[in-house]
Symmetry: C2
């Protein structure tokens, strides 16, 4: 787009929605075009606020509301000459005339404004399911600063809360409500918290939540709400339980705000978001869409997804601006949205949980079974330096060539660092062999000469090389293999898998005749390392061997999530 | 190599040196060959000890000496059937006969032992320069557990220390001696601490050291040592200063222990280490070498280097084992040493400093000037969540295609994480465009929707796209450009670069006629962000503009290191 219209006058870009994607788009559009008119319209009272910080504002960690205002309308005006109007609701688009109908909510006046390029950054709305009692006072969602203000006021006089939904935001809310002194119950329809994770990894999180007094109702739907005698509410969970709650937070997800797009006849995708191309163009050549309102490609599975994440939203905004202003013809990656990896992190009561790429669940949904998985539990740094804590990791990779498909990790320190390294490896098309030889930061307080990322690569690569054939704990029920526990007798005595015989690694060379040769041996130890050493020895002596990946530690995680 | 010799009998692998590389080699050799005889000989009293932990043992952070013993001879024997012999000095190699002459230091007996494959993991020795007084009591190096024991004893009755050498180990020692209550002076021949870093980045470290009472003598050689009246020593620094010290630590680097290799006629490299190929083979077909004794290729510059790092040493050990045992024919990356990136990290008084890849200095040494540099100072996490601290970053990249060449970072939190991500990107041949679109972990307490890594990529990519032409502070002296400071008047008043005029960003659009058109404008702000916004505006109005990368923050770092 040229700054001047063919018929004269300045080009006009209208952006609907001014949080992450919309604000990024506006700022980049100005950087690329000083002569364009840029209008940023939002029906709410704020633009560019920090919605990811809202749970922590409720919890009091972020004390002042103003802190959440990343950029004010005045800053946009003074610094970028962008016409920001809050409390302005765009009610309709006329794609043929290239106009929008704008309702000024303050003055209650409506006017029609032209555009040369229109960007829909309308976001997503929290889902409020049509359950009995859903409109009772005390039931909140958390998407905006006014939402947070309401919840803060309600929490002042509350002593109990139910959070409906155990995803990232629901659990962040649970933690923050506990910090405010409330008794908190989380109700989640899935049989696990954090549904984007695989269940055995989510088990660590559930354990931490319970240790901090959060009651969990997993695999439980909510059927309605009713007033409680003496004030407050009761949340009616499936199965008949009535959970008392002075405050209820609905955190069961969001739905893209597509009403405008739908009415304008734009193509929507199968997941209900606006369908866009790599330049964020909709089916109308003068309309772009960015942020939580669009569907995005999962870079690993290729599936269309709704994936409301702040980083990708910002990138999409910048890419739309580049596309509008004619940068799209270049080969530059900044003009092309490659899709979403689903990198995410959450801090809960001192535990960090992070993931990138596909989960086993998302691969299964995409119909894939051509992958392998490893579990490991390395320390956050070397054991000889004080303060190391375990990082529980799971890495998924292609059976054929070792390409990394996804990773999940849970622990108290260094978790986001390892997931970020794997995220970069996935972005670059890396394999487990690349993880194996990564050269990462090491000093005693920061890691290990064999970093957890290296170890994950080594375990996975050894599996693919045939040096370490793995079995998954989920395969245990169907096996006829002999389980062999190679830990020390005292460890075995403290608890072992039924049917496992105990042959400590150190005595294996002299105990070979005790082991059956007519079936596979599945080796178990604490985390997998000693079983690896045993494998090589037993393979040499002609035994068919597999190692139960992640050892007793992962066995416990599976058992807890079953 | 087959497990059986052609003439019968078991194959015999002898490994000389049992710390990181040697121990890794022994363990992998056993995993690959159950039938081989494997001997691990070390002239010291311990194998597989944690030499990276020694400074922290001196400082008392790692209280017990036994904690440093990662694996004992008994464990190697029981678990891996490896014949570990400590206090056994290999005095000579006969390559033609394939034998080594082994001196048992305990029994003072010598015998000749055969090998089929010999691995030299003899490491490196701390340099003790032949200065006057070098053999006085109270002058120590720190490479072994006995070294640490001696220093701990000396520190008990000391109140002052001089550390000669301001590299990673010297500074770790300085911190730990301060923790023990000593008055510490560091004497460094270079004009900066941490010579692998570029000087302006090392300045942050020097500042932190001084703030914790460490006295620095930079650009100062040591000319000798002499006894002090009343006990202790004086360190004679160039220029005539005599520094009192009850304890002196020599940390001026290490020299590969090549005496054996040299006597055996093995080819050495130009840097004085053993020259090996990608499979760690020396010039003799039956001898391999691994760890600090070998020269390695710098993966970025291609130059041969001595780079004593634990991670690469471990990898080399495993690769040598694979090569010896016939795994080398496969395409597997685990059988090929790709070289060293120089990823390193150091924690000093709460500050973390980390780097990967080339520095500006190492690029200059390699004769390269085809690169660009950016500086930035993002927060470790979003500003609206409490506790964010700046990360000072420098990224080097190729002018032609944006390929990342190296990165350095200093800060209190999240430093090693960002360097690890860049390390993985470098390994995969990534560009600054890849950093720009990396999808990394973000929640308010963990980062930002635009992570520091993304910001580094964006600044660099904008420079390459021409949207943000950069100037370096080092070019300031020779320029005829007009400096324009776009900060607020109050910031300008608190300090600015001589000759800079003040035009705040917010008033730039109405002040264009105050700016000269006959020469370049070089823009300055606090960290570079506002100057970027100003650039786009001024470029549009026909001005020739560059931004001083990193803003006043980097100016200060340059000034402090000058």
């Amino acid at each position: 787009m040229q700054a001047e219209r063919p018929g004269g006058g300045r080009r006009r870009i209208v952006i609907v929605g001014g949080v992450a994607a919309g604000a990024s788009c506006a700022a980049r559009a100005r950087r690329l075009c000083e002569e364009c008119d840029i209008a940023l319209l939002d029906r709410g009272p704020y633009v560019s606020f920090a919605n990811c910080g809202l749970p922590y504002h409720v919890g009091g960690v972020i004390a002042e509301e103003e802190t959440l205002l990343v950029a004010t309308p005045e800053l946009f005006r003074d610094r970028f000459a962008i016409d920001v109007r809050t409390r302005h609701d765009v009610r309709a688009i006329d794609p043929a005339a290239r106009t929008v109908e704008v309702h000024d909510l303050e003055r209650d006046s409506v006017r029609t404004e032209p555009y040369d390029a229109l960007v829909l950054a309308t976001g997503a709305a929290a889902i409020r399911p049509p359950l009995p009692g859903i409109d009772l006072p005390g039931i909140f969602v958390l998407r905006t600063i006014p939402d947070a203000r309401q919840i803060r006021a309600a929490v002042e006089r509350a002593s109990s809360a139910v959070v409906v939904g155990g995803g990232f935001i629901g659990l962040e809310m649970a933690e923050n409500l506990v910090q405010r002194g409330l008794a908190v119950t989380v109700v989640e329809l899935a049989a696990q918290v954090l549904p984007p994770l695989d269940p055995e990894m989510a088990g660590y999180v559930a354990e931490r939540l319970r240790a901090h007094g959060v009651a969990l109702r997993l695999g439980a739907g909510v059927e309605g709400f009713r007033p409680r005698d003496g004030g407050g509410l009761e949340v009616l969970a499936a199965g008949g339980e009535a959970l008392p709650a002075d405050v209820v937070i609905l955190a069961i997800g969001v739905r893209p705000e597509t009403a405008l797009a739908r009415a304008a006849g734009l193509t929507l995708g199968e997941r209900g978001g606006i369908r866009v191309d790599e330049q964020m163009r909709t089916s109308d050549p003068h309309i772009w869409a960015v942020g939580d309102v669009v569907e995005v490609r999962d870079v690993v599975t290729g599936a269309w997804q709704l994936m409301p994440l702040a980083g990708p939203a910002n990138r999409q905004g910048r890419i739309a601006a580049a596309s509008i202003l004619g940068r799209a013809a270049t080969a530059d990656a900044s003009t092309r949205f490659r899709g979403v990896q689903g990198t995410a992190v959450c801090g809960l009561f001192g535990l960090t949980v992070a993931m990138t790429g596909a989960s086993e669940k998302s691969l299964a949904r995409a119909g894939r079974d051509d992958f392998e998985r490893v579990y490991l539990h390395p320390g956050s740094h070397v054991g000889y330096y004080p303060g190391a804590t375990p990082i529980h990791m799971k890495v998924l990779f292609a059976r054929r060539d070792g390409r990394i498909l996804g990773a999940q990790a849970v622990g108290e320190a260094g978790v986001e660092r390892r997931i970020d390294v794997v995220a970069m490896a996935i972005q670059m098309g890396g394999t487990v062999y690349d993880l194996e030889e990564a050269e990462l930061c090491y000093a005693p307080q920061f890691g290990a000469a064999k970093d957890p990322v290296n170890l994950a690569g080594m375990v996975a690569a050894n599996h693919l090389r045939g040096d370490l054939p793995l079995a998954a704990w989920s395969e245990l029920a169907g096996t006829t293999a002999q389980l062999v526990d190679v830990r020390r007798p005292a460890e075995y005595a403290r608890g072992h898998v039924p049917g496992a015989i105990n042959v400590p690694l150190e005595r294996l060379r002299v105990a070979l005749d005790r082991l059956p040769r007519d079936r596979e041996l599945w080796l178990v130890c604490a985390v997998g390392q000693r079983a690896y050493y045993a494998t090589r020895l037993l393979q040499h002596h002609g035994f068919r061997v597999r190692v139960l990946s992640g050892g007793m530690e992962t066995h416990g995680a599976h058992a807890a999530s079953a």
